[in-house]
């Protein structure tokens, strides 16, 4: 009756398999490399949306600064790639060969100390996880231990996103400034620019995404996931069940940050550059909209929401570039007012029941316990 597997219910397994089929088989077979790479880029935002489902949808912690973590992960990856692209042979026309071009343009003659360890791929991979993780931990500990939450927390994360953008743009000798880090070429000697590399990187990105989905599912189905749900509307009560609310919030926020950072790293790899335009306030809010459109309680919805909004953005902004922001704002308002559970809600309220009736005419309630935990209507 109350059995559920440790990782996913049956309907969720079906959903995950369907998503895998779409991302691993259907899209690679039907799209050309350019479009596949575009999907790969969109999927890097899905990591952020996925983190937001855990931290906002489940834990009720709305962060409007996830671009910070996406950016930290992306910049860590880009620093490694940039160093490799700046070998003395590649940069012999510079006044100081062997350092990134933007440093040379800014009259820097020596690789700064904090850049040095990014020669190592192992260090870089560790940094992609740890830098955003530790940063999120510090923010989380400072805010949640003092019981700063809700709107105040959202505003503070916005401020952090703005500050980080200003820092990156201002310190162009160290960061590449407003243009970001461009002209990334190879990963351990393997050229990331040709078509076949883009296909491989797409699959790596999909694999990482499923890794994160797996972790998210584990968390959601653990008691910790249920504590997050409990905290969302009865934070005080959770304290009186003997839990330190702050610690659970910090955890959710850190996980969301690490997911975002992995997305950022995959972005740098697939797109071949990283810039502050993915760090600031606007991209951070857009990422929240992806999660909202997908359904903030749905792990898989986060992926679909991201893809949908980005496809809409691409086609819309090709024809009416200046109207896109209004379109996005309108979409957000529509989702919040009319479909609070997003695409996933539409699916579980309208499509799935019909499908179920079609396939198994008399087997009602096949997803009862988990659908309940997901916030879908009980029966």
């Amino acid at each position: 009756m109350i059995e559920n597997t440790r990782f996913a219910s049956r309907s969720e397994l079906v959903g995950i398999a369907a998503l895998a089929l779409l991302l691993v088989v259907v899209l690679p077979l039907t799209l050309d490399v350019f479009r596949l790479n575009l999907v790969g880029k969109y999927l890097t935002y899905a990591f952020v949306a996925l983190g937001l489902v855990l931290c906002w949808g489940y834990g009720g912690i709305l962060s409007l600064g996830q671009g910070v973590f996406f950016g930290l992960g992306g910049y860590c990856m880009a620093m490694f790639l940039k160093l490799e692209a700046s070998s003395p042979e590649n940069t012999k026309i510079q006044s100081t060969p062997g350092i990134p071009d933007f440093m040379d343009w800014n009259q820097i003659t020596e690789l700064p100390l904090f850049w040095q360890p990014f020669h190592s791929l192992t260090f870089t991979i560790a940094a992609i996880i740890l830098v955003p993780g530790v940063f999120a931990f510090i923010i989380g500990a400072a805010m949640f231990k003092r019981r700063v939450g809700g709107t105040y927390f959202a505003i503070i994360t916005q401020a952090i996103a703005a500050i980080l953008t200003i820092l990156i743009v201002g310190q162009q000798g160290y960061t590449g400034g407003i243009n970001g880090m461009t002209d990334l070429r190879t990963l351990k000697g393997w050229d990331i620019r040709p078509d076949h590399a883009k296909v491989v990187l797409y699959f790596v990105c999909v694999a990482c995404l499923f890794g994160c989905i797996f972790v998210a599912q584990l968390i959601r189905h653990s008691k910790l996931g249920r504590i997050l749900v409990a905290m969302r509307d009865k934070e005080d009560r959770v304290r009186f069940s003997g839990y330190s609310v702050a610690n659970f919030k910090i955890f959710a926020f850190c996980v969301a940050a690490v997911f975002a950072a992995i997305g950022g790293a995959m972005f740098a790899l697939q797109v071949g550059f990283m810039s502050p335009s993915f760090v600031g306030i606007v991209p951070s809010i857009e990422m929240v909209i992806y999660a909202a459109v997908g359904g903030r309680l749905s792990i898989l919805g986060a992926v679909y929401g991201t893809l949908l909004v980005n496809f809409a953005k691409t086609s819309f902004s090709e024809s009416f570039p200046e109207l896109w922001l209004f379109g996005l704002g309108g979409l957000f308002i529509a989702v919040v007012l009319a479909f609070p559970n997003g695409v996933a809600g539409l699916w579980s309220d309208y499509v799935q029941p019909r499908l179920v009736r079609l396939v198994t005419p008399r087997k009602a309630g096949w997803s009862a316990p988990n659908a309940v935990a997901e916030g879908a209507p009980a029966e």
Binding site: K234, R237, R239, F240, S241, G242, S244, P369, A373
Partner: protein, 251 residues
């Protein structure tokens, strides 16, 4: 005030407790002591500060001055979750349960194991947990409702669920704020029966208006009035105290 020699013998020693909300002293220099296995009932007119006393003990409200010792630990210096872990459980006046979770999950969350982040992540729903949840669900008349979302329960059932959540925590000091308020007559009878069972073997602090119920269970009664103790003692003594009759029982 009693310093040093006293607190050890009592489970709970409240001394000189005061809280002021913008100058209004909802609890004013209050001192009382609860023994091991004692059942203490707090009565008093609305607004007397009864709920606030429980808020102070469980850490929901911070005291302006005074101390609350639970065994040898000062609760005024501890966080809410630490107070719970020390063995103090609290039922709120309005049912306070997790609406989005099932009855089973509500009880499971209250089970005293895996309360750290790591513990919650690796928590296993093993036989011990299942048995305990079923046992408690049976006691609180909800064994057929385990898979139901808690917000679909009736008001009385929610009260029971919250009592169950406390019960599964197995606190040494149990605090109940008007546990039968808002219940139907038949629910009241069942709840009284339930409370009789769960108060055994622990100390209990109950706020209640139902005088029959109070007479039935109380070892000692404390009457609060305007944040201060008006009278304290056995039910008989309190009932015949002219001050009490005047402000409380008299109308």
């Amino acid at each position: 005030m009693l310093i040093g020699q006293q607190p050890k013998d009592f489970l709970l020693s409240v001394e000189g407790l005061t809280v002021s909300f913008d100058g209004f002293k909802a609890v004013n220099d209050l001192s009382f002591y609860v023994d091991e296995n004692e059942i203490r009932v707090i009565i008093g007119p609305n607004g007397a500060g009864k709920t606030t006393v429980l808020d102070l003990i469980c850490g929901k409200t911070r005291a302006t001055s005074g101390s609350i010792h639970f065994r040898d630990r000062d609760l005024t210096k501890m966080r809410e979750n630490e107070i719970v872990q020390a063995g103090v459980g609290r039922k709120f006046q309005t049912p306070s349960i997790y609406d989005d979770l099932t009855v089973f999950e509500n009880l499971e969350i209250s089970f005293p194991r895996g309360r750290s982040v790591l513990g919650a992540l690796t928590f296993k729903r093993d036989a011990e947990v299942r048995e305990r949840v079923h046992e408690v669900a049976e006691m609180i008349f909800l064994k057929d409702r385990l898979a139901m979302r808690a917000d679909l329960l009736s008001h009385g059932q929610k009260q029971w669920l919250e009592i169950g959540m406390l019960l599964i925590q197995d606190p040494e000091l149990l605090m109940l704020d008007e546990p039968v308020a808002g219940m139907s007559v038949s629910e009241r009878v069942k709840t009284a029966e339930l409370l009789h069972r769960i108060i055994e073997g622990r100390s209990v602090l109950v706020i209640e208006h139902d005088m029959k119920f109070v007479e039935d269970i109380a070892h000692k009664v404390t009457v609060l009035h305007q944040g201060q103790i008006l009278s304290e003692g056995t039910m008989d003594k309190v009932k015949n105290d002219p001050k009490v009759i005047e402000v409380y029982l008299g109308h």
